[in-house]
Each structure stands twice: as C-alpha cells, then as structure tokens.
Amino acid sequence: MSAKKKRIMLVASAGGHWVQLKRLLPAFDGYELIFMTTEAKYSTTVGDNRFIVVPDASRWNKLKLLWLACIILVRILFIRPDVVVSTGAAPGFLAIFFGKKMGAKTIWLDSIANVDELSLSGKRAGKYADLWLTQWEELAVPGGPSFFGAVL
C-alpha cells in the first residue's frame, strides 16, 4: 500500500443494510472511511469519519431514483474513492456503478435478508462489482456471486 491511505466509501440504506455494513468494519481498519446512508441520525455512530446523507429512493419511483443518481454521481466525482463498498440497496448500487466507471474497486455484499435469491440491486450490481458476494452458500454459483461467509 502506498503512503497515502486508501479512501473507502461505504454505502448502505437505513435499517438492515446499514447494520450489516457496520458488521464489516473490522475489515476496513486503517483506511480512510466515508460513510454514505439515507438516515441523518446515524451520523452519531460513525466516530470521526466523514458522513454523507443522500435521499432514499427505490426502483418504484423512477424520478426520485434519477435525482439520487445525480447526487451520487456528483459525490463520487468529488470524493474520488479508491474503493466503493455496499450492502444495498438503490443508493449502494448507484455508488458501485459510478464508482466502477470512475476507476474505483468495488465490493457488493448482498443482504443476508435475501435467502432465496439475490436482491434486484444485487443481481444488477454483479456486472460492476469486482468482488461480488452473497451471504448464502446456496446462492453462490460460477459466474455469479461468491460466498465467504456472512456478517453473522
């Protein structure tokens, strides 16, 4: 690793996605972290790390999704993360998508809530994730996501 710390952007929607992302923190020890989520209240839970709130949006509201995409694109352009990590959902997918386009390395860890099949954003993220992970062994297939265990 170079002298400059790698900048890692961690993206998750409020609720379960966020809780799962936080479980991964031991993996990011020693790096510069920037958290991005949809819930302002979480700002008190990230220590001294940078914290960014984005609006919530899902595929059910196309206009909002487009607005969210613009916001995330601008953030990524300014932040220039070396790595983008997400556990879901829509904001995470968009961050992985734009992050990849801007040359960042990307990790998608699909939510453990998806026990029978990957989430929709998880399926789509596969194309843009350098490390594409599921938390259920049965869902790991050649050409699909891999399995290395779960957040619990």
Binding site: W18, A27, T44, I112, A150
Partner: protein, 159 residues
C-alpha cells in the same frame, strides 16, 4: 422489560396492537418503537422514533425483543445476545411490498437464531409462555462476522 420495534420505514399495526392488547395479562413493562404505525397503544409506553443511542439503550435493557422480521433488528439482537420473537410482515395486508420477511424468518429460525410467530395468535401464545418462564425455542448467543469474509475483504483492499 420487553422492547418492541417495527423499524422506521413501514407501519405494523398488527404487531403493535397484538402486544398492546395482551400487555395487561403479561404484567411486564413494555416499551414500543412504533414508527409509522397508526394504532396508538393504550397499555404500553411508546415512541414513534428513537435516536440510535436511545434505541440501543432500550435494546440493551430489554429481556426480550419483539419485532418485525427486519434484518437490522435481527442482527442487533444476535449482536447483543438478546432473545427475540419476530413476526413477519404480510404483503397481502399491505405490510410490505413482498413476503421476503417470511423467507428470512423461516431461514433464521431454522438456523436456531430466532423465534418466529407467524401471526398474532402465535405471538401472544409465545409471549405468554416466555413470560411464564418457559425457555425460548432458539439458542441465545452472540455471533461474530465470518472471519473468512473479513479476511477476503481485507485481502481485496490490500491488493
């Protein structure tokens, strides 16, 4: 103390109401974070939303957690080693967009991580049993993230 949480995103009247209506019989202190739920409890303390500190405090103080089958709550219960009874949201009743909470609840109960009540009747039954001192159906433990998963990500980052 029993702590009830239905998350912040969607209402869950059926759950809050069932707990409220059996509260007197249980004779325990109950507090609920009801989010967007419309039903206003009469017998139990409640708050629409809690900030992360308050939420954590309630969670830590509770002897039992009652919740929707949301991953955030389930993981927090496993993190803190709290017994938890979940009732999954039903899409047919407009409680969620789909029935994925049923799949999650089933899978996690098979792993022996949680106790599931599939409807209100079952929830009340189980609550009464546990309040009466009967043992939980699942093993109470706290669980660390998979070391292999953490290592895989660390190696990837170091590359």
């Amino acid at each position: 103390m029993i702590f009830v949480t239905v998350g912040e995103q969607l209402p869950f009247d059926r759950l809050v109401r069932a707990v409220d209506e059996c509260a007197q019989k249980l004779g325990q202190e109950i507090f609920a974070q009801i989010g967007e739920t419309e039903w206003r409890p009469k017998k139990i303390g409640y708050e629409k939303f809690l900030n992360p500190d308050e939420f954590n405090k309630r969670f830590v103080e509770a002897d039992v957690i009652i919740a929707h089958a949301g991953m955030g709550t389930i993981i927090t219960a496993l993190e803190l080693g709290k017994p938890i009874i979940v009732m999954p949201r039903k899409a047919a009743l407009g409680e969620h967009r789909n029935d994925h909470q049923f799949a999650t609840a089933q899978r996690f109960s098979k792993l022996n991580y949680i106790t599931v009540a599939f409807d209100e009747t079952e929830l009340v039954e189980k609550l009464e049993k546990f309040s009466g001192g009967e043992k939980f159906e699942h093993e109470i433990r706290n669980i660390d993230p998979s070391p292999l998963l953490i290592k895989k990500i660390r190696d990837f980052l170091a590359d």
